[in-house]
Amino acid sequence: MTSFIQTLILGLLVGALYALMASGLTLIFGVMRVINLAHGAFAVLAAFLTFTLWKHLGLDPILSIPIVMAVMFAVGWLVYVAVIRHVRGSHVSMTVLATFGIALMLEGIMGFIWGNTSTAVRVSYTDASIALGPLYIPQVMLIAAGIAMLILGGLYLLLNHTWAGRAIRAASANEAGALLVGVSVATIAALTFAIGVSTLGAGGAMLSTIYPFLPGSHYQWIARLLAIVVLGGLGSLPGAILGALVIGVGEIAATSYLGAAWPVAVPFLVIIVVLITRPQGILGTRLREDAVA
């Protein structure tokens, strides 16, 4: 029984971190129907930035989160203006190729700057854990989960209690309508993309302390993040959180009960099963298949 609870604890903690990282992806899809295949690469970039701040300034990763979030916000805005803006609204193949291209470029650039060897941030709480009887809670994961919930809470407040958030939700639901009521959809799209990358940045910062990473790690992350948003429902933020927790627990459980080779398959199996049986995911809405344009 303790083994099961331990599995649950580990799964939920890691799921919280996944939720933070997936929130940006689902937000971006919701507003501009862009599948951002570069999302994993942005996460790794944030991890590298955190590493640099830690290595050269001795800054603790938790403290560097605001800086990393700000930098990633700027990066997101830049990428949007340079590339995404041109393909928003185009056929899906264009957005997929464009974001995949960005991911490859980021991977190469990170390799140039930081090299291709495995990197990790090691701080005092990296290997420590809190013992609760026979169970243990890794400290770093607890901190990551806490920060994730904090930022997700902030995101929720932003979306539901500020004008910008309302504008984002409006543009997400009906772009033409939003334009008609005075929402500058172009700016909102840039803002959404930047926010999405920024929250991912916080996740990436925490990531640097938990898992080692190198520029090529982004592939694993994008598969997992896609599975999460598909499961939760493309465009739904609560769905992304739910999906992340399910997949977090699912991966840990798969290792414990099926074998170490299986967690890799969890994202793909989830994607295929969900898209066959319930394409809108758990909390997503079914798009109206109307004949009239």
Binding site: S3, L10, G115, S118, A120, G216, T255, P263
Partner: protein, 403 residues
């Protein structure tokens, strides 16, 4: 349709451009230098090992040139990056052999990359001395040109260690064992070989599993091993996974008395920094190399390596250097590089002295020999077995305490 005419025009122009580029033959080689070609994973998942091997090759080339070169000619080495991708390695070797027209080749790093690379060399009838060909799958293909420049293949690399554990007196011998291994043609067989010996000695296998190379989260695996109560952990690891496993065991407060990891601990300073000196204490590993051993050219190698790259040479660098030594021995003994089959035959019938000790081979190119067993003690990588070549007289539990 008007469109099709434009298409055809474009397709035609492209094909012609390709044709023009094809008509030029590949560049020929200058007869005054001996050029050696190799592909290495300088980027990607195995980049750590690739870079170390490259350093070993370069050190060997420099030392060889300083003492007059090979067959009186200076040696040049061309290294291409295969990004830990097999088909890039294949294409690299194809290019090195046919476009750059290298005189000799040396192997890549890791069995994964060398399995197809050796096939390219075999197809082109070129000698393939390989610093990193531990997988037993490489030697049942009937190849005649492949030679592994370490002491033994993967299945036997943990042999000395396992036999020593098996022969411990019952009070000190562990009762239960866990075997987590990387899904890799090299790491897997190492652990298989160890398990065979240990379970025959009555040590019960309570956990055994393979994890893919992309695994980053070892908490659930550690959890399972802890729940199973394994007293000894034998891990088939590459580098990063070994580091993560140790850290994960710490987090979980899981402390088996004996820990063995196949490759990770041989990465010297990188490993030490990765796990922390205190956690490296007592970790067993198999090693082909010890910097304290008094083997052929070892002192000069260490000196030159420290000069060029700083610090003691990690195992992969030493293996690279040894591969160079094997190649040089064959070439010098045969006296020419034109008939590489002759070089292969010479190696099959002779022993070569290297910094790893004496190396000799079976008919299929697999080496006959025994690996050393090392252990990290006080931040120094020591050889502990076989006792006659040991550089330290203590053998410790993980994280301290003698056995």
């Amino acid at each position: 349709m008007r469109r099709t005419t434009a298409f055809r025009a474009m397709a035609g122009i492209a094909a012609i451009a390709l044709a023009v580029s094809a008509c030029s033959a590949d560049s020929s080689n200058n007869g005054d230098t001996i050029t050696i070609g190799a592909s290495l994973p300088l980027t990607g998942e195995f980049s750590q090992g690739g870079l170390d091997t490259q350093h070993g090759y370069e050190t060997w080339v420099e030392m060889t040139n300083e003492s007059g070169g090979l067959l009186g000619k200076p040696v040049k080495i061309i290294v291409r990056d295969d990004a830990t991708t097999q088909d890039t390695a294949v294409s690299n070797y194809n290019n090195l052999i046919s476009k750059d027209k290298v005189n000799l080749v040396l192997g890549s790093q890791s069995s994964l990359l060398n399995i197809p690379s050796s096939a390219v060399a075999e197809k082109n009838k070129m000698l393939f001395v390989c610093p990193s060909c531990g997988s037993p799958d490489m030697y049942n293909r009937g190849f005649k040109y492949i030679f592994f420049s370490q002491q033994t293949v993967a299945t036997d690399q943990a042999k000395v260690f396992a036999e020593w554990i098996a022969n411990l007196p019952a009070a000190q011998r562990p009762k239960t064992a866990a075997y987590p291994t990387l899904d890799d043609p090299f790491a897997g067989p190492v652990v298989e070989g160890a398990e065979k010996i240990l379970s025959a000695a009555g040590i019960k296998t309570v956990y055994k599993d393979e994890y893919p190379a992309t695994t980053k989260n070892f908490d659930p695996i550690v959890n399972a091993m802890r729940d199973a109560g394994a007293e000894i952990v034998v891990q088939g690891a590459q580098f990063e996974d070994g580091v993560n496993m140790i850290r994960s065991m710490n987090r979980a407060g899981y402390k088996p008395s004996i820990v063995y990891q196949s490759s990770s601990p041989t990465y010297g300073q990188q490993y030490l920094e990765g796990v922390g000196e205190q956690n490296a204490e007592g970790v067993f590993f198999s090693s082909s190399y010890s910097s304290l051993a008094k083997t052929h050219q070892n002192a000069e190698f260490i000196k030159k390596f420290e000069e060029k790259f700083g610090g003691l040479p990690p195992e992969d660098a030493a293996d690279g250097f040894a591969a160079g030594q094997v190649l040089a021995a064959a070439v010098t003994a045969v006296g020419s590089i034109d008939d590489q089959a002759k070089l292969a035959d010479w190696l099959r019938n002779n022993t070569v002295q290297t910094i790893l000790g004496p190396l000799s081979w079976n008919a299929d190119g697999s080496p006959k020999g025994e690996f050393l067993v090392g252990q990290w003690q006080g931040g120094v990588s020591q050889v502990v077995l076989p006792t006659d070549v040991a550089t330290s007289d203590k053998i410790l539990h993980w994280q301290g305490g003698p056995i």
